[in-house]
């Protein structure tokens, strides 16, 4: 007795009323229920049996035309029967195969009480806090995050201090791996983007210089902006998107799969293994990448100067060795480790903030990238103010 022979030619489930009898037809299965459910929505059962002159008499349900029934169909049928009973018609069902009847009984017995009768009221929605309330909540959430990241920086500092006391504990292999992935791997993209940026600066600046006949100053314009500001910042932003996000995703996934807990219980402080090599790796790699960006950017400027302003490579290069350019270069390189710390710490911190689910990893990775780029630019602005204050 195949109770659910699902055949492609099954007809849609249907029910029709005729002279006090409801005729069930077709396959009452998950795939074929759609139209039926529209037809017998609770308020329409009345319409279905209303024109019946014997309305109110025991109603006869004839199931002979039922070709298949699964739990979904049984549930809808059970709902139909309950609907009829609620209207005072005591429905009698005939022609139901034994297997189908067993399924109907199963659904009747096992239906969760919450589905019977009144549905429990939906839990009260939290009332809208209003604009001021939302502002307050957001402020508190941000303060909370600031508090947490400060605490995290403190923990990393302590772990760092422990390392400095016992340098032998440094995980060289992990560190070298980080250097390769975050440093060497980023060289092509950093070089290409900086080269293009150098071209753009030389082109835009060159248009202005040309009108004053001050073509030769293109060398100062490109080298100062590239070395002092754009080199370190571009590099930090690329690395935040490339490496900071990877840090968050890696640590976040480990948190979801309880690997962080496993490390702790084995007695390996997660900060030691996961954060410090990343931090060291980036602090070493970012200044080197900045150097690459500087060289590529100035090269881009040189190409543009030669093409557009008739300033040859030799003329351009001759103007570079002067104190102002040296100083810009050093300032730029000095900013890089600070940016590196921001990217590494924000990336790791957001990784540890991941909780539970896979989509949390995605959200925290987004936050990590946005936050580290934001902080890098804020830090750059702070450097500018500081340097103008002390006059360099």
């Amino acid at each position: 007795m195949p109770r659910r022979t699902i055949v492609e030619t099954d007809t849609d489930a249907d029910v029709t009323a005729q002279a006090g009898t409801l005729y069930l037809r077709g396959a009452w299965t998950t795939q074929h229920l759609g139209g039926l459910v529209d037809k017998i929505g609770t308020d329409k059962i009345g319409a279905l049996i209303a024109h019946d002159p014997r309305n109110g008499d025991p109603l006869h349900v004839e199931a002979g035309g039922l070709t298949a029934l699964d739990t979904a169909g049984a549930w809808v049928l059970y709902g139909l029967l309950r609907g009829l009973e609620a209207r005072g018609s005591e429905a009698r069902i005939d022609g139901l195969e034994d297997g189908h009847r067993a399924l109907l009984d199963l659904v009747r017995d096992r239906a969760p009480p919450s589905l019977m009768g009144q549905r429990p009221a939906a839990p009260p929605r939290p009332s809208d806090p209003g604009a001021l309330g939302r502002l307050g909540r957001m402020t508190m959430a941000h303060l909370d995050e600031a508090h947490a990241i400060t605490a995290f920086i403190g923990e990393v500092a302590i772990a760092l201090f422990e390392h400095v006391k016992r340098p032998a504990r440094l995980r060289t292999r992990a560190l070298l791996g980080m250097l390769e992935r975050a440093g060497v791997g980023a060289i092509p993209i950093v070089a290409l983007l900086s080269f293009l940026l150098g071209i753009v600066i030389a082109y835009q600046g060159g248009l202005q210089l040309q009108s004053y006949g001050a073509n030769i100053f293109i060398a100062e314009l490109v080298s100062l902006t590239m070395l002092r500001e754009f080199g370190p910042m571009m590099t930090a932003i690329i690395v935040a998107g490339r490496t900071g996000s990877a840090y968050t995703a890696e640590i976040g996934t480990m948190k979801v799969t309880e690997e962080i807990d496993a490390l702790t219980s084995i007695g390996i402080p997660p900060l030691d293994l996961l954060v410090l090599p990343k931090l060291f790796g980036l602090v070493i790699a970012l200044p080197l990448l900045t150097l690459v960006a500087d060289v590529a950017g100035v090269l881009g400027g040189m190409v543009m100067a030669a093409v557009m302003l008739d300033v040859g490579f030799q003329d351009f290069a001759d103007r570079l060795p002067q104190p102002l350019v040296y100083r810009s270069f050093l300032i730029g390189i000095a900013k890089a480790p600070v940016f590196a710390m921001i990217v590494a710490i924000v990336g790791c911190f957001q990784g540890f903030r991941v909780s539970g689910s896979a989509d949390s990893v995605g959200r925290k990775t987004t936050v990590s990238v946005v936050q580290s780029i934001f902080l890098v630019i804020v830090a750059d602005a702070a450097f500018s103010i500081l340097f103008s204050f002390i006059g360099i």
């Binding site: 195949p2 022979t5 739990t71 659904v107 096992r110 239906a111 689910s357 989509d359």
Partner: protein, 260 residues
């Protein structure tokens, strides 16, 4: 009448790179039975299960599920077939971003045009059929105990009223009481929903209590496929070791088969 065979595997060969997992493996699953797959670690039980539930393509051979040859069928033909089978993964594989109820509703939303309210009711009904308390419906997977996760996973596997239910290690990691309750659930679901069940397990209790037949995988093929009571007398050395070791004997005795 539907045919008596729901899955037919003939001359199956599976290779992972240079490693050969199955070679000339034959297996038949009959409609309405509970078939246990067992064998030593690495004997390819889970791989065989994945080949039968359309997650993996074997290297060669024939796999016919519900009358469709899955090796020659186009991907278009496999999607309707996938709706007719339910799979419970070893660790549940519940979607972590969704509540238990939403997890069960996913297949219904994806594959049917039923109204949201009915889907909601059906999800709760499936959870009740899987023996999960109504309160668990709004929990997230991480808030569930091991036994509850497995029940929720079964409820999701049953969402579309499949004809075949695949269970991968249904009782692994459960305490004895939960494991026993889960065994009972499998039998009960199979009887009331007219299912064919294929399960991979190491749990000898489950094998004795639940299965109609047991397929024992050894030496890259099915060494024996018979009711479990016959297996301890099978001459194959691996089967002997499996069923007549101290654990095998204890469960056999507990199940009332005091021979061997």
């Amino acid at each position: 009448m539907a045919s008596a065979t729901v899955i037919e595997v003939r001359g199956l060969r599976t290779e992972y790179g240079p490693m050969c997992i199955h070679d000339g493996l034959d297996l038949t699953v009959r409609r309405g039975e509970i078939l246990g797959l067992c064998g030593g670690s690495g004997s390819g039980k889970t791989t065989l299960l994945r080949e039968m539930n359309l997650l993996m393509r074997p290297s060669a051979g024939k796999v016919e599920v519900l009358g469709i040859d899955v090796l020659s069928a186009a991907e278009d033909a496999l999607t309707p077939l996938r709706r007719r089978i339910g799979v419970m993964f070893q660790r549940g594989a519940l979607f972590s971003a969704l509540t238990v109820k939403q997890n069960v509703a996913v297949p219904l939303k994806e594959h049917t045009d039923l109204p949201a309210r009915l889907i909601d009711e059906l999800a709760l009904l499936k959870l009740a059929l899987a023996g999960l308390a109504p309160g668990a419906a709004s929990l997230y997977p991480r808030e569930l105990s091991g036994g509850m996760s497995k029940r929720a996973a079964v409820a999701r596997a049953l969402a579309l009223d499949p004809e075949i239910l695949f269970l991968d290690e249904p009782t692994a990691g459960l305490d004895p009481v939960s494991a026993e309750a889960f065994d009972a659930l499998i039998v009960q679901l199979k009887c009331s929903l007219d299912l064919t069940v294929v399960l991979v397990t190491h749990d000898l209790d489950t094998l004795w209590r639940v299965t109609d037949r047991v397929a024992f995988l050894a030496a890259k093929r099915v060494a024996a496929c018979a009711p479990i009571a016959e297996l301890p007398r099978h001459p194959h050395p691996e089967i002997q070791a499996y069923f007549t070791g101290p654990r095998g004997r204890a469960t056999a005795q507990a199940a009332g088969w005091t021979r061997a």
